[in-house]
Chain length 318, copies 2
C-alpha cells in the first residue's frame, strides 16, 4: 500500500507517495492524525544532521497495529528517540545519549509528516480523553521544558527568567507557571508574550529587566542568547541552555568562572510527567497554534512556518 | 484595651482577657479572622518547648496598624518565624535556623488564638482575592510541603510516596500533584485518602505497596514512620523527614549506609511560592476542614482537634 508523505531528499521537500512503513520487532504502526512543524524541521531543510527521508517528530495518532495488542486502537503520542541499548553510553545507563541514536524524523528514522509511522512500543504513551489532539501535539516540545526541572534543581523560591518568546520559551514559561515557580519571560513580541501574560506571568521586552536573577533559561534560538543570559544571572546562578545553533558563539567564559555560574545543557524531555501536567491543569496551548494545513498542502505549511515570528504550524493528516 | 485570647499557662489552656498587644518596631498589628489548630498546638499542651502564652500560628487576618501604612487594611497571612539577625546562624545566612528564634504561638511570641496579634512587617503576605480565608488558613502548613522541593531536588520522573494521611501528608500530596509529580499516598484512613484520590492520586493502605520508590516523604507523625520509609525507598533514594516526635526512634542506620539512602530533614516553608500555587490551581482544602468553632468555644475546639483522625479544626475569631 502506498501512503502520502512529505519527503526531504536532495535538499528538496516534496509531497510524494511511499510504501506504508512496516513495523519492526516490538514496533507499533500508527496512523498520524496531527503533526507539528518544529524549528528543527526547518533546520533539516537547511541540511541539519544531513537527514533525508520523512521529517516530523511532533505528532498525535492512533495505533493501527501493536504486536502485543495492548495499544491497538488507542490514541497516542510517542517519544522520538530510539536507543540501541548496546553502545557504551547505553550500557552506562545513559540511553538518552545513545551513540547510535535514531530519532523520529530527525535521524535514521522516517517521521510524522506522513499518513503512517512506526515507533518502538516503549516510546508509546496512550492519551487520556481530556488531552485533545491539539494539546497532545505539543507534548514533545513541552517535555523539553519539563526536562529542565528534571536536570536542574529549581527551588520554589528561585526567580527564574525565560529568555525568548518562541514556542519553547512560551511552553517553558507555562510549565514553570503550573509548577508554581516565580517565572518571568523576556521576549521581543508583545503578541506572543500576551499568551503567557494572561496566566499572570510578568513579561519584559529586551533590556527592560535590569537586575540579577537566580536562573535563566535560554530559549532564544539565537547565538546571542547566552550573552544576554550572562548579563542577568546572579553570581552562583544557573543558565539552562536550550538553544542549538549551527554557529558557535564566542562567550565570556571568564565571567562564568569568576562569578561561579553553572551552565547546564538540556534537550528532549520525559513524556509521562508532561502528560500528568496536561491532565491536571489548563494551558493556553491552542493560542499557540498559528495555522493548520492538510498534508497535501505541506509545502505551503513549511513556507508559513518559516516566516519570522510565526507560532505553531500544524499538519492535519487524517 | 482588653482582648479575648486562649492562654496556655501552668499546663492549662484558658479563655481569658489580655491587654491588646502593642506592635514593636517594624511590626504590624493584625486582627485575626480565622486560625487553625495544628498538631504542634496539641504538643504544646503536652509541654512541647515549654511554651506559655497564646498559642496559634496558622491564621488569616486584617492589618489594623502598619508603621509604613503599606499593609494597613489588607487581608494577610504571616510566616511564623522571627529571626534575630545577630546570632551565628543568622550571620551565616541561615536565619531560618536563628539561634534566638522566636515563633508565633510556639516560642517567645504570643500567637493567633486571640483577637489580635503582632508580627514583623517582613513576615506579612497580602492575600489576592481569589484566595479565600478558608484557603489562606492552610498556607502555613502547605508551605511546609513546598519546603520539600525547596530543599530536595525532586525530579518530574521520580516516583514519590507520601507516608501518612494526616493534614501535612494530604497537603504535601496536593502540592506535589499540582507540580506534576508522580505522587502516591500511604495512609490508614480511607475517608482521608479519598480527598486526594479525587485528584487522581493513587492511595494505598499500609502494606499494600510492596516495591521500591525514589522518594519517600515521612509525614506520619509517628516514630515508626521512618522504619516504614526505609522499607520502600530504593537504594540511593531519598527520605524526607517531616515528623517530629518527642520519642527518639531506634533506626537501622546500617541499611541507610549500605543502601546509600539520603535522609533529609525539612520543616517550615516559604509563603510566596505557596501563595502562587493557591492562586494558580484549585486545591480541595475546604474538604480538609473538620469543624469551625468560635474563639469563645476554643477549649471545645481543642478537645475536638485532639480526637484521633480528626482533620483541621478552625477558630473563627472575627
Amino acid at each position: 500500500m502506498e501512503i502520502k508523505a512529505l519527503v526531504f531528499k536532495d535538499k528538496q521537500l516534496k509531497l510524494t507517495e511511499r510504501p506504508q512503513p512496516v513495523p519492526g520487532e516490538d514496533e507499533v504502526l500508527i496512523q498520524v492524525k496531527l503533526a507539528g512543524i518544529c524549528n528543527t524541521d526547518l533546520e533539516i531543510m537547511d541540511g541539519y544532521l544531513g537527514f533525508e527521508g520523512i521529517p516530523g517528530h511532533e505528532f498525535v495518532g492512533r495505533v493501527i497495529y501493536d504486536p502485543e495488542a495492548e495499544f491497538t486502537g488507542q490514541r497516542v503520542v510517542g517519544s522520538i528517540n530510539i536507543s540501541c541499548y548496546e553502545c557504551f553510553t547505553c550500557n552506562q545507563g545513559l540511553s538518552n545519549h545513545c551513540l547510535n541514536m535514531r530519532a523520529l524524523g530527525i535521524r535514521n528514522k522516517d517521521g510524522a509528516f506522513a499518513e503512517y509511522l512506526t515507533l518502538p512500543r516503549e516510546n508509546i504513551y496512550p492519551l487520556p480523553e481530556v488531552v485533545t489532539d491539539k494539546m497532545a501535539v505539543f507534548i514533545e516540545p513541552m517535555a523539553a521544558a519539563v526536562e529542565i526541572p528534571e536536570k536542574v534543581h529549581l527551588r520554589p523560591t528561585d526567580e527564574v527568567v525565560v529568555l525568548g518568546d518562541g514556542k519553547l520559551g512560551l511552553l517553558t514559561a507555562q510549565v514553570f507557571w503550573a509548577m508554581g515557580f516565580d517565572v518571568k519571560v523576556i521576549g521581543k513580541h508583545q503578541e506572543k508574550l500576551q499568551i503567557v501574560k494572561k496566566l499572570g506571568i510578568e513579561t519584559f521586552l529586551p533590556g527592560e529587566l535590569n537586575r540579577m536573577v537566580d536562573v535563566v533559561v535560554e530559549c532564544t534560538g539565537s547565538q546571542s542568547g547566552v550573552e544576554t543570559a550572562l548579563k542577568i544571572v546572579r553570581p552562583e546562578g544557573k543558565i539552562v541552555l536550550k538553544t542549538t545553533t549551527v554557529e558557535k558563539p564566542s562567550l565570556d567564559l571568564s565571567q562564568v568562572a569568576v562569578n561561579e555560574i553553572k551552565i547546564i545543557g538540556s534537550r528532549c524531555g520525559p513524556f509521562a510527567p508532561t502528560l500528568r501536567l496536561l491532565e491536571r491543569h489548563k494551558f493556553p496551548l491552542e493560542e499557540m497554534i498559528d495555522s493548520i494545513f492538510p498534508l497535501e498542502r505541506g509545502l505551503a505549511a513549511f513556507t508559513r512556518a518559516k516566516e519570522k515570528g510565526v507560532l505553531k504550524v500544524l499538519l492535519e493528516i487524517s
